[in-house]
Amino acid sequence: MKASVMNQIYATPLTYPYFDEQALRAVEPMDVRFRISTLEVTEKIAEEYGFSLDRVPEMLLAQFQAGRHITQKMKSIGLSSVAAAEMSGMNKTMLSKYFQGKRPFSPSAAVITPFAYNVMHESCHKLMFGTEGKIMLPSIYAEMARAMAQIPAEEKEALLRKAKTQMALYEKQNPRDIANAPHRDLSEMIGERIFELSDDKGTQSYQLFGQETPYGVRNYIRQFIIEDFKRESPRMSLLMYLAFETGLALDYFVAEDFTKMVPCYYKVGDEVRELKDQTTLKVIGICAALPAEVRCKLIGEVIGAGLGAEFQS
């Protein structure tokens, strides 16, 4: 990293959100947006679009800002890095380095959720972007929300009990030491979430954003699939870019239960509704956390309950 870029980062005050999202969204085309938000500006882009070669990539800036935010918050809470590391499963040495504020906060996807939820008590999106995110539910979860709205409260509770039983069974087989840490392989889960989005769009997963999908994203997802999700989970800047570009909160990609800290929305026709019903949110959260084979049956039962109610009406 160039010294001039580092100096710029150190000189930038901590603001919320960490960078100007609107301005970044206005940048066209998408591959330039990807380049300037996650990588350094190339000479070609600098010439063509007038960006400075010393421009700080937004995702990097956000990671530095997140480091500062964490330092401030930890000081105000009075929590040591050792205690935070124990609560989140993070490496103690690494965490103390982040706390010094001279390093971008880019933890692995596996530990960001327990850190954000258990230590910071905020969403992963808030932690990494400095702003509240939201999730527009993929069609299958949106369908669950529609179904749950059509069935009586007792039936909803029965479905929640069933989901909890499934989760308890699964937790028994795959125990975890730290709350909110993923039970299953995170790479597999991230792959599933990307597939959910591409299935909704009817595109190949590596063309998540259509033909314009930036080369870096396309290549990474393709490799991810070819290697059958055995690869370690994507780096934080790529996940942040995916969250930014899809307009979904980062939690959707990294948290097993993404409904815990982020408001969820779903579409009924053209109308967008916020999902406020706690029972529904819990059922969706549990379904999202379960592995595919168990999840399919459970989601089918929830949607079937709604369809059954439609049949009777």
């Binding site: 369908e143 089918g300 369809l307 049949f311």
Partner: protein, 264 residues
């Protein structure tokens, strides 16, 4: 003639199959002395319609029908032929299938999930089938309901749809080679004289590539292939496009709904 029309009109049933089909129809429409009056009238009417169909298919040469006989049968002509003769797609398939052992020819759905979904949908009342169709439409990506598919030939339609679902073209080529249908895949790019597909191959392709044979043949609700009624065929056309995981979810949902609300 634009490219799309050209492609459609050139997509033909193989010559061998065509002969077998025409011969079978001729046999079926022969009036026998044992036929009652109603059947006889029906057969005569169908025979007239069939002759008119063949005449329509015969190109004119100096204002007279060509002595070479009718043009080759295209897949787009199949619905009309089925309407005229009162036969089903299965009848045609049985006719062209080489079946020396006398084993019944019966195409099947690509997977058990699809077969189960089809039987559940056949059980439902039309109103409930509409609700299931609406549910699938909400979950399925809109790209699969593209009206462009209608003007495509079966193989082109198949490979366009598969291109959406396969994660890369190279993977699709590998898949077609493994299934032994690479030749069919390649035929999209070669001159029209090779562009004929055996009727048997349609069933094979639909099973191999996990699409509905009804959709692959470009049939409407009036003509069924594997389901009992046309609405179920429409549901299955879309259902087959869903990813495996979503298929299981929808199947479970329909099963639960039937348990809860009954089928009729």
């Amino acid at each position: 003639m634009n490219t799309k029309e050209k492609e459609t009109s050139l997509h033909r049933v193989s010559k061998e199959d065509e002969e077998l089909i025409y011969n079978m129809i001729d046999r079926e429409l022969i009036v026998s002395p044992t036929d009652n009056a109603q059947t006889r009238r029906d057969k005569e009417r169908r025979r007239e319609a069939f002759e008119a169909f063949k005449l329509k298919m015969t190109p004119l040469l100096k204002d007279k029908p060509s002595p070479k006989g009718p043009k080759r049968l295209c897949y787009e002509n199949l619905p009309e032929l089925l309407d005229i003769t009162g036969l089903s797609y299965l009848d045609l398939l049985k006719c062209v299938s080489k079946n020396p052992d006398g084993v019944e020819i019966k195409p099947r759905w690509a997977s058990e999930v699809e077969a189960a979904m089809c039987s559940y949908c056949d059980m439902l009342s039309p109103v409930r089938r509409e609700k299931v169709l609406a549910l699938i439409r909400r979950i399925l990506a809109p790209v699969f309901e593209n009206s462009d598919f209608e003007s495509m030939t079966p193989t082109l339609r198949l490979f366009k749809a598969n291109a959406i679902r396969s994660y890369c073209i190279a993977e699709m080529k590998r898949q077609t080679k493994e299934l032994g249908v690479y030749d069919i895949y390649r035929r999209r790019f070669v001159p029209y004289s090779f562009n004929a597909v055996e009727l048997n191959m349609v069933s094979y392709l639909s099973t191999s590539f996990d699409v509905s044979p009804h959709w692959l043949l470009g049939l409407d609700e009036a003509h069924t292939v594997l389901a009992t009624n046309g609405e179920t065929e429409t549901i299955m056309d879309l259902f087959c496009f869903l990813p495996e995981e979503r298929k299981l979810m929808i199947l479970q949902a329909v099963q639960t709904a039937i348990e809860k609300g009954g089928a009729a």
